[in-house]
């Protein structure tokens, strides 16, 4: 760092909370991720889209501090960082809500909320304060639980997801990494979670929203990073891309076309399916990829 303190401070305010530049990850000879750039600032939702095996998990692990990138740089608020554990990332305000949510189903909501961060009072815990805080934090996220003493397992999947998000926010998260929060949910439940993603954004948090569903990503996202086989196949700001184009890219245009050829070769009913697929591919506008894959900045 050659800059002086004043410029440093000025820069800090303008710098995105999390920024990856040309980041990649190799596991031995396997290239899990290569040349990924993304950034997220406060009050912004960065959507990472990709099918299974696209490298989403590896990307999360890098940002969450579980792994270090093999190449490229990782900056938090303008400063390059080398996290050696998730705890360090957490100290910088980067919290990850994993798919399994890290909740204990049989334990009451408030005990789950404070698990590992209990408020102590003398030899015991300040239970009244914790219950009150939990209820208030959930209310602030728009979740009205009548009874924070009920086991968290009795809540719906969406509500549990929201409690996990509220917990991360309460314990000082500036950036939330949400790993497929809508994947296992029904349409209505997913809507509830999307609502809380917007709420977190309105509270000034940066959100990294990992999903394979463009219909969930598009309404809430400000930027979109598309991954396929460990590479970026597009990075767009919202105004640069339509939902249809996102869906088309997600469906993996060329791969679908290849599959349709294979089915055609098989003949009979498979050929019919192939024709249908071809029609869908052209409807999605995959043959016309959206312009300007450089959406950053």
């Amino acid at each position: 760092m050659t800059t002086t303190t004043t410029t440093e401070t000025q820069r800090k305010a303008a710098e995105p909370l999390v920024k990856l530049i040309g980041a990649g990850k190799n596991y031995g000879s396997i290239i899990a991720l290569s040349d990924i750039s993304l950034e997220v600032s406060g009050g912004e939702v960065m959507c990472v889209l990709g099918d299974n095996g696209a490298g989403k998990s590896t990307l999360i692990k890098i940002i969450a501090g579980l792994h270090q990138p093999s190449v490229g740089t990782y900056e938090v608020e303008g400063t390059p960082v080398h996290f050696s554990s998730p705890r360090e990332a957490l100290e910088r305000g980067i919290a990850t809500v994993y798919q399994d949510l890290a909740v204990v189903p049989l334990m009451p909501v408030w005990r789950n909320f404070f698990l590992g961060n209990e408020v102590r009072k003398g030899l015991g815990m300040d239970i009244a304060l914790m219950k009150k805080t939990c209820k208030q934090e959930l209310l602030d996220m728009g979740i009205d639980l009548r009874d924070v003493d009920q086991p968290i397992g009795t809540l719906s999947g969406g509500e549990r997801q929201c409690v996990a998000i509220a917990r991360a926010v309460h314990f000082g998260a500036k950036v939330l990494i949400l790993d497929e929060p809508t994947a296992a949910l029904g349409v209505k439940q997913a809507g509830v979670v999307l609502k809380y993603i917007i709420q977190a954004r309105e509270r000034g948090l940066g959100v990294i929203f990992i999903t394979h569903n463009p219909h969930h990503a598009y309404p809430v996202g400000d930027r979109f990073l598309l991954l396929n086989r460990g590479r970026s196949i597009g990075y767009y700001k919202k105004e640069q891309v339509t939902l249809e184009e996102l869906t088309g890219l997600m469906a993996g245009g060329s791969e679908l076309e290849q599959l349709s050829h294979e089915l055609e070769a098989a003949g009979g009913a498979a050929a019919e399916a192939a024709h249908e697929m071809e029609d869908n591919v052209s409807d999605l506008g995959i043959s016309r990829p959206p312009p300007s894959p450089d959406g950053g900045g």
Binding site: V104, P105, L106, E118, M125, D144, D147
Partner: protein, 352 residues
């Protein structure tokens, strides 16, 4: 776009129609020990009716004493089960601790208290080894402690025979420090003409401490979490391995405590004693509402479970039934208590 979406965000409803507030009774019944309490009342009334001697205060004092000898051990076993583990070596570990104290004091002709301290170290070490193997290897504690159970059983017999040429430990009542140790571990006092053994008091104190730890402290939160979902607990920073080893050591501590009581009450101890008691402890904990799968249960429940065992154990004697039938009635009553417990818990959960 975000503006239109913002408009979609409806204010949270002031009242959630999906959460119906259960009645006060339903909430009470939802507690883990509720079923056991109902079972205990039924069994008490049953023996009150069929066994007239059961109605005496002194008989009930005996019931309490028998219950306490099992209840002391059932308390840490319940904590361990809430923490998601088993300890099958707990029954013989009691005997190991007692043998250790008596043989050490006798063979080295040292103050009984020295033997008592040595036994404590050994008992804690057994608990530590059980826990350490479980957390290091990930092998189910059922198997690990089954192994240590047989090893301790063999050691108890083999070492006692090697050292004393007998199957029981020698009488230590003439050794220095015996009477003071006996006062601490195996005395009794009289309240209103009824003799009460001090283990009953210790039992109540330990159950209260365990309950306080479980419900009011951070450690308690962690015990529930490591039994309920260990990976999640680890993810939020709970030291899972240390918690589990600590729980096994708590069992070791109480095995030592119970062993000291048995030794100092009878001056000697049989090396083959204690086999089978591990199941009584586990049954008491399960009757008291502990889930076999961990993450749920209570220390008060385990105490009530031990009380059910004690009442049945003594009630059959007071009723004058053929003692050959003892284990049959014991098993039937315990099964009945578990069924009632399960039934009440299901109803209570449905009523939430």
């Amino acid at each position: 776009m975000s503006d239109t979406l913002q408009a979609d965000v409806t204010p949270p409803p002031t009242h959630d129609e999906r959460v119906r507030r259960g009645s006060r009774l339903a909430r009470l019944l939802a507690r883990p020990e509720a079923g056991a309490l109902a079972g205990a009342i039924v069994i008490y009334l049953f023996f009150f009716v069929v066994a007239p001697p059961f109605r005496n205060a002194s008989s009930f004092s005996t019931v309490l004493y028998v219950s306490s000898t099992y209840g002391l051990m059932a308390t840490p076993i319940a904590l361990l089960m809430i923490g998601g583990e088993f300890d099958l070596s707990a029954g013989v570990a009691v005997t190991s601790a007692a043998l250790c104290a008596s043989l050490f004091s006798y063979e080295f002709t040292v103050n009984v208290w020295v033997g008592v301290v040595v036994a404590l170290v050994v008992a804690l070490a057994v608990g530590f080894i059980n826990g350490w193997i479980v957390v290091r290897t990930g092998i189910p504690s059922f198997l690990v402690t089954l192994g240590t159970f047989f090893m301790l059983e063999g050691l108890n017999l083999a070492l006692t025979r090697t050292i004393t040429n007998q199957v029981a430990s020698p009488d230590i009542s003439n050794i220095q420090g015996f009477s003071s140790a006996q006062k601490v571990f195996a005395t009794s006092f009289t309240i209103g003409g009824v003799s009460i053994n001090i283990t009953v008091i210790y039992w109540i104190v330990f159950v209260l401490i365990a309950t306080w730890i479980l419900l009011r402290t951070r450690i308690g939160n962690w015990i529930f979490s490591v039994g309920g979902n260990a990976p999640s607990a680890r993810a939020v920073g709970v030291p899972v391995a240390r918690m589990k080893i600590g729980l096994f050591m708590a069992v070791g501590f109480m095995a030592w405590f119970t062993g000291m009581h048995t030794l100092l009450l009878f001056n000697t101890i049989q090396s083959g004693q204690g086999v089978g008691n591990e199941f009584v402890y586990i049954i008491a904990a399960v009757v008291g509402g502990c889930l076999l799968t961990g993450g749920y249960g209570s220390a008060v429940g385990a105490a009530i479970g031990a009380l059910i065992f004690g009442m049945t154990n003594q009630g059959i004697v007071y009723a004058g039934w053929d003692p050959d039938w003892f284990t049959f009635f014991l098993g039937a009553l315990l099964l009945g208590a578990i069924l009632l417990n399960t039934y009440i818990r299901r109803r209570a959960e449905a009523a939430r």
